[in-house]
């Protein structure tokens, strides 16, 4: 395929930021384990600690509150399991029904080990009600976890209110801010917040690096035991080049957030208006206002999402069905189900996620090829050779 491709899947993985790549490559030239005591080790350690201070400053926390991990999934696992394991005398865990699998699955697994899971419902826009959280908090709750913004439908959660409620109740509160960073102002020192998970590759750092921002007094049982490199909570040789690149990407994400969000909102407006113009039956999901600036989530009635994705891919437009995949096997979206969206409609959904490299030309390309894709996909859903006996 020689045509230019429109990449509208930044929420899955964003292109690497040139400055982050430079930092990454520069650091990769040097040998040295940050835990070694010789000069090379010290230089590597210095890079890690400078990166830690940089990330801490950008998120409004102390350097000791930054725990580098191998990505968002690890950060979420560490927080969810580590915070819950510290408080076995508190059986309950509050968790929203629309979490990313990196939170949802560890929570469900804790349920299998005997913890009581109190699933927090969402409204039809995919939003958790802080009053519901407040009503369910108690001294038998070890952990409450609600994501900052949803990766599928883009709805921003009232994390400040939920964090405050948890703080008042003395309950640990974790939030997955993987999608929020760079698109929304993210404050790591939000009152009541215990921990916050971040991922590098969503903001232009390489895949395989992330961080858990965890308050100094947060007690967390390690998931990975070993050298205890990170606060004795996370073990494993520190990946100095990736951490350096991550710090550069976080710096850029935070500094450019307001401008980036404004540009995304404008581009998203064109995309949404265009979809409503060329595919009038399309239904927009998620909160229309309080949402991730780069996220557009649409259901196309009478179509299968995987068919649409294939047709758009063939036409040079890359997007996502939004839900998790196991080796490419699409799963029904637990997020859309939690929002009460009809399963047939849910299957006909696509997520378009804009990012730093997105342009009007990308939007135009999508709008150019979308009508015929929707037309073909809706015809593909109608049986002809299928017969019933």
């Amino acid at each position: 395929m020689t045509q230019a491709r429109a990449y509208l899947d930044h929420a899955a993985s964003a292109p690497m930021l040139p400055e982050a790549r430079e930092a990454w490559l520069a650091a990769s030239e040097s040998v040295g384990n940050p835990s070694s005591l010789h000069t090379s080790g010290r230089l590597a350690r210095r890079l890690v600690e400078e990166s830690r201070e940089s990330v801490a400053a950008d998120l409004g926390v102390r350097p000791s509150e930054v725990i580098f991990t191998a990505g968002g999934t690890e950060a979420d696992n560490l927080a969810v399991k580590g915070l819950a394991w510290e408080q076995p005398q508190r059986p309950r865990i509050l968790c929203s029904t629309i979490e990313h699998h990196a939170v949802l699955d560890p929570v469900a697994w804790l349920g299998e080990t005997g913890r009581e899971i109190d699933w927090l419902p969402v409204d039809e826009l995919g939003r958790v009600d802080p009053d519901v959280v407040r009503a369910r908090l108690g001294d038998d709750v070890a952990l409450c976890t609600v994501m900052w913004a949803n990766n599928e439908v883009g709805t921003v959660q009232p994390v400040a209110a939920i964090a405050a409620a948890c703080g008042e109740a003395g309950v640990a509160f974790h939030t997955d801010a993987v999608q929020a960073l760079g698109q929304l102002p993210v404050n790591g020192a939000l009152p009541g917040l215990t921990s916050l998970a971040l991922s590098g590759h969503k903001i232009g750092a390489p895949v395989g690096v992330g961080a858990l921002i965890a308050r100094r007094d947060a007690r967390i049982t390690p998931v990975l035991h070993g050298g205890g490199q990170e606060r004795d909570v996370r073990s494993g040789t520190l990946d100095a080049p990736s951490i350096a690149a991550f710090a550069v990407a976080v710096r850029h994400a935070v500094a450019a957030q307001a401008d980036h969000a404004a540009r995304m909102v404008s581009l998203r407006g064109e995309l949404v208006d265009g979809i409503q113009r060329v595919a009038p039956g399309a239904i927009l999901n998620g909160d229309p206002v309080d949402r991730l600036p780069g996220n557009v989530h649409v259901s196309f009635p009478g179509c299968e999402g995987d068919t649409l994705l294939m047709l758009l891919d063939a036409a040079g437009v890359e997007c996502s069905t939004g839900s998790a995949c196991t080796a490419g096997v699409p799963e029904p979206s637990h997020v859309l189900e939690a929002m009460g969206i009809d399963p047939a409609l849910a299957r006909g959904s696509l997520r378009f996620s804009l990012g730093c490299t997105s342009t009007e030309a990308d939007v135009d390309r999508l709008l150019e090829v979308l009508p015929s894709a929707v037309d073909r996909a809706s015809r593909a859903a109608a049986p002809r050779l299928r017969r019933t006996r």
Partner: protein, 355 residues
């Protein structure tokens, strides 16, 4: 042609897709997500298909063709799995592979492919499509060991015309060798034999889970004596010998087979082999792969996926087809398909109702 190659993750579909690419077709690989099982966390996952989906993806990589997964698990659950369970409940013996070809691979998938602008579906089945006087004809594969024309005998001319079967002229060892030469890691992957949605192969246990225990008696038709007990009549197929666990030996000392099953009374009847012999077979709802057969037509009929063909003369009466066999057949089980052949050409098939 623009072709959808169904990639199961096995060696046959991989080589079939490769040959379609070599033939100059524009090929897109599609893995069908058919079975789903609930995992421990309540998430539904492609159950047996995750590793297969990865193998299929690697085949597409090697061929440098696009690759997608189509989720047909709902269609499959309804049209194949539920049909399988309901057939057993009714005392029939279904063939789920045949049903899958009829309703999924060459129907739901082909429907979607045609609507998306493709012209054909390519699979790794061992059967041939040859041009005949009335259009494309379905024929047996040249490899009698692998011939799968029986499970394709439900295809209609429209479906056959939009199907590519590149392996019909090959033998299995050639196909494996070709896969190895093409650098496909599935070259030595073992053949699948079991029913794909019963991963452990224990069909009786799987059915018991869904149909429950329905204990009853096993009766010897010769003496009328109760010679054993069973936990569910649905687990027995006419012609079956294993798994009867009979307490009393037959008066003659010979082997006994399931010769009839009364599902209403949950009674399984056993008797000697000659009782299984049927000289006529009645089957309903024929599907013709080409022009419909007429009364008096000489054919050979096959009543199992790997059964021997038997010569027969047909009597076609609307939706009823009666085959008068040259020599008696045994193990004629209601629910199975009777495939009819004219030489190597598949004439059609119909569902056996009685012998």
């Amino acid at each position: 042609m623009r072709v959808i190659a169904a990639l199961s993750g096995g060696v046959d579909s991989a080589v079939a897709a490769a040959r379609a690419v070599d033939a100059g077709h524009e090929v897109v690989g599609v893995h069908l997500a058919l079975s789903r099982a609930q995992s421990a966390t309540g998430r539904s996952k492609g159950c047996c298909s995750v590793a297969d989906a990865q193998d299929a993806r690697r085949v597409a990589d090697v061929l440098d063709i696009p690759y997608y997964v189509w989720d047909l698990s709902e269609d499959f659950a309804r049209d194949v799995v539920d049909d399988f369970v309901e057939s057993y409940r009714e005392g029939l013996t279904p063939n789920p592979c045949l049903r899958c070809n009829e309703t999924i691979k060459f129907a739901a998938v082909l429907d979607r492919a045609l609507a998306l602008g493709f012209e054909a579906v390519c699979t790794g089945h061992y059967a041939r499509i040859e041009e005949g006087p009335h259009g494309p004809e379905l024929h047996r594969a040249i490899d009698p060991v692998k011939d799968q024309s029986y499970v394709l005998s439900v295809l209609t001319p429209d479906q056959i015309a939009a199907t590519l079967l590149p392996l019909g002229h090959s033998r299995k060892p050639q196909v494996r060798e070709e896969a190895a030469q093409r650098g496909m890691r599935v070259a030595d992957k073992p053949d699948s034999h079991d029913i794909c949605f019963i991963p452990d192969g224990d069909t009786s246990a799987w059915l018991r889970e869904r149909l429950g225990e329905a204990p009853g008696e096993i009766v010897d038709v010769a003496t009328g004596a109760v010679v054993g007990q069973h936990s569910g009549a649905y687990a027995f197929t006419i012609g079956q010998r294993r798994g009867l666990d009979l307490r009393e030996p037959a008066p003659s000392g010979g082997r006994r087979y399931v010769v009839d099953v009364d599902h209403a009374e949950a009674r399984v009847f056993v008797g000697e082999e000659q009782l299984l012999a049927a000289s006529t077979i009645e089957a309903h709802d024929p599907l013709w792969c080409g022009p419909a057969a007429a009364s008096g037509d000489r054919v050979s009929v096959q009543i199992r996926a790997h059964g021997d063909p038997v010569g027969a003369v047909l009597d076609v009466q609307g939706h009823r087809v009666i085959a008068h066999l040259d020599e008696p057949a045994r193990g004629v089980a209601p629910g199975q398909a009777m495939a009819m052949y004219d030489g190597t050409r598949v004439v059609g098939s119909a569902t056996i109702v009685r012998r």
